[in-house]
Symmetry: C2
Subunit: 444 residues, 2 copies
């Protein structure tokens, strides 16, 4: 066989053509084709606080910390930034302190594994938990496409725990666990975003959190708690503690994304994996994960870690303090989006939405199918983009829903986008028979 190589799809791992991976691609590609559209599609952070001078300052702040707090000399500082380094990371102590300050989570720094974004942490945990072909992971559905994609890459089946209209109910988790076990599979963990979930915007109340921890203990599964949005609650007032803060038996692996609290370009995240491994050395799950990490990315760029560390140091070790501007922006935007939806759709038959108390996302239900075709049409004819919920769930309900993200927009663009969305809804509703159900919001 000579001549240029042509690889056949059947000779490549099946995950490469998996809907979960193609979906991410399609969404990026659509966004690229309509750069002028108002995009409620992108779940990215606001760009308002970004300032290149910060990068230089963060780096210097971290170097000063190495000298002053750690007693490093110049050679050691340079080695820390430039050379290969600790697989588990170098800002683990700062992260442990941040978790205590901002979350009341008591994390042993040795149980903190710094990763290339929370995505790598998720991949490593899923990999570790796949000990045989019987093992499966559970996911609250609709779910983050990064969970589905990573699991597909690892040939780890994902079993859905469907969300109700108010979010996850613990009885649905129990039902799923039982039916999964009945089919001979072994559920290892539940992937859950307890605060302002992506994509649905739901949050778990305190009682549900406690019940999840109880079920995890009784059913011997872990909880993979992903918390990218927890700091961004809309109204002042109590936020429920994270699952990890309530976790006394190490049932929770906490996945930390810093893409929203620091910035995505750092590509720094982490896992708190304080579970003990049976055996004489009693190592932590974090140590086991770090061995696999050394085969995935070797270690997380210490320069990138220094940027995160420097940002923390500038704000007394707290992301909550570092994000005061962002918290205000996201609160303002979510309010504007919800008010704007009310103004435009309150009396439109068949249109409803939830009212998350924070985060980036609102789910809008419409009386016509929300397909990829509709998304393209919305881009071409109406200049507005959103994410069809069918990318996050195979369920029937998701077919009529779209995720609206308001995190990276100005209030003017939110208003403009909603006007365009309303025009699209009017156009499509006009073609429907007059059977549409009630309107208005469902409560979150």
């Amino acid at each position: 066989m000579t001549g240029p190589v042509v690889l056949e799809r059947r000779d490549l791992h099946a995950s490469l053509a998996d809907p979960a991976l193609l979906s991410m691609n399609f969404l990026n590609e659509v966004a690229g084709r309509f750069p002028e559209a108002v995009s409620f599609a992108a779940g990215r952070p606001t760009e308002e606080p970004f300032d290149t001078a910060d990068l230089h300052r963060y780096l210097d702040a971290y170097c000063r910390y190495l000298v002053q707090a750690k007693g490093y000399d110049d050679t050691q500082v340079r080695r820390e930034l430039f050379q290969y380094g600790r697989t588990k990371g170098i800002v683990h102590e700062l992260i442990a302190r941040q978790l205590e300050l901002d979350e009341g989570i008591n994390a042993d720094p040795e149980a903190v594994l710094v990763t290339v974004g929370a995505q790598e942490a998720l991949l490593l945990v899923l990999h570790a938990l796949r000990s045989s072909e019987r093992d499966v992971v559970l996911a609250v559905t609709p779910t983050y496409v990064g969970l589905t994609g990573a699991a597909r890459m690892l040939d780890l089946p994902v079993r859905s725990v469907p969300e109700g209209p108010q979010g996850l109910r613990s009885e649905d988790l129990l039902d799923t666990i039982r039916s999964v076990r009945a089919s001979g599979e072994r559920p290892r963990a539940l992937y859950v975003v307890p605060d302002f979930s992506n994509p649905s915007g739901h949050s778990l109340d305190l009682e549900t959190r406690r019940r999840l921890l109880r079920i995890a203990a009784e059913e011997d599964i872990l909880l993979l708690e992903d918390n990218p949005y927890g700091y961004f609650r809309a109204a002042a007032g109590d936020r429920s503690p994270t699952l990890k803060a309530l976790d006394i038996d190490q049932r929770v692996v906490y996945l930390g994304s810093l893409a929203k609290t620091c910035f995505p370009g750092a590509r720094v995240g982490f896992a708190v994996a304080d579970q003990r491994i049976a055996g004489p050395d009693g190592s932590l799950l974090a140590d086991e994960l770090s061995r696999v990490k050394s085969m995935v990315t070797v270690n997380t760029s210490p320069v990138a870690q220094a940027l995160v560390g420097g940002m923390l140091l500038e704000h007394g070790g707290s992301f909550l303090r570092a994000n005061q501007l962002q918290i205000g922006i996201y609160r303002r935007n979510l309010e504007r989006l919800l008010t704007g939806l009310g103004r435009r759709f309150a009396d439109v038959p068949g249109v409803s939405w939830n009212t998350p108390s924070g985060g980036f996302f609102v789910v809008l239900t419409v009386p016509f199918p929300v397909t990829d075709g509709l998304l393209e049409l919305a881009g071409v004819r109406h200049g507005v983009l959103f994410t069809p919920m069918s990318h996050f769930s195979d369920g029937e309900q998701a077919r009529w829903q779209m995720r609206l993200s308001c995190s990276a927009l100005t209030v003017e663009r939110i208003d403009l986008g909603l006007d365009r969305l309303a025009a699209m809804v009017t156009e499509h509703s006009a073609t429907l028979p007059a059977t549409a159900a009630g309107s208005g919001t469902t409560q979150d």
Copy 2:
């Protein structure tokens, strides 16, 4: 089941306890326990050129390039550094240009996938090539532990192509391919470091390179060419072109590490994967790999990429030019190591070594087994460290060999380390029966 979680090893993926992954850990741990020892163990780059001011300057140089060469405004520059970005990376054009300048490799920038070190690139390629349980990867053995570890993580078997005393012979590759096929397995690719291989230091001559490409075409396998050391040849004079430079049929996936030419802390590497995928859209393997990358690390930190880009821009786009100081240091060190070995071991029965023409590594053969226990003893009693070759190969020959790395040492430390090594060899040789074979070097 209540009370603190204790995870059983049998419930975790088998790779977590795999010798390849444990080996990396053990070696790091030993190095940590003897910080005062002269370490011929670490394959890390010299720290002499590291300067924190460079990081600031590289970042600024890249930002200027975005403005001047790309016409970016301030918002676009900030977005590029801080926000989520292109999965395939942002310095792909600079890397393609560098490959042309320094290597004569003609790479389509769209076929360049920027990764979190070459390790991630390797993982992604191995993952893509595992389409069924029949698929295996071939590796020139002794081999880099990062190849073995990544393959174990992916449940992809590695089949060895043993190196002869002068390095890889194409007939051994053919033999392995045939025996692998005879056992019902399908060889997908050969992993090979053609220049100054890790761990053996061997290089392939031009004729062997051409033969590998011919075999790859005839046997329908890919060549995974890893080239971390190619710029560091000891003597002036011709270096054989890379496999990728000779590759006219896209048989070669080129894996680029920048840990040695730029610095390890950037954690930036890349793959050139210009293989076409069958089908109407004719996408490149790089595009397929990027979809999986989005499930592993999302994208490579753009700040880290900017550092690499800035370094290239400061040196006219060439790593060869950027590494003049390093090339001199490695040349000097390898010469010192080889001269020092000759001075101390030329007449010692049973001791021999190869004479690589560049790179970081020399393999020393001794008349007693080189075990992990011996390494510990060397640390405790002699204050010198090395890497037992048994970490890179199960073969009989490797049991009597150690890898010596001279990249991160001064000439004074090399001399001191060799004195200590000689003391250890004398001590251990004294306990042997007088049956040891000849002495002196084998030619590389």
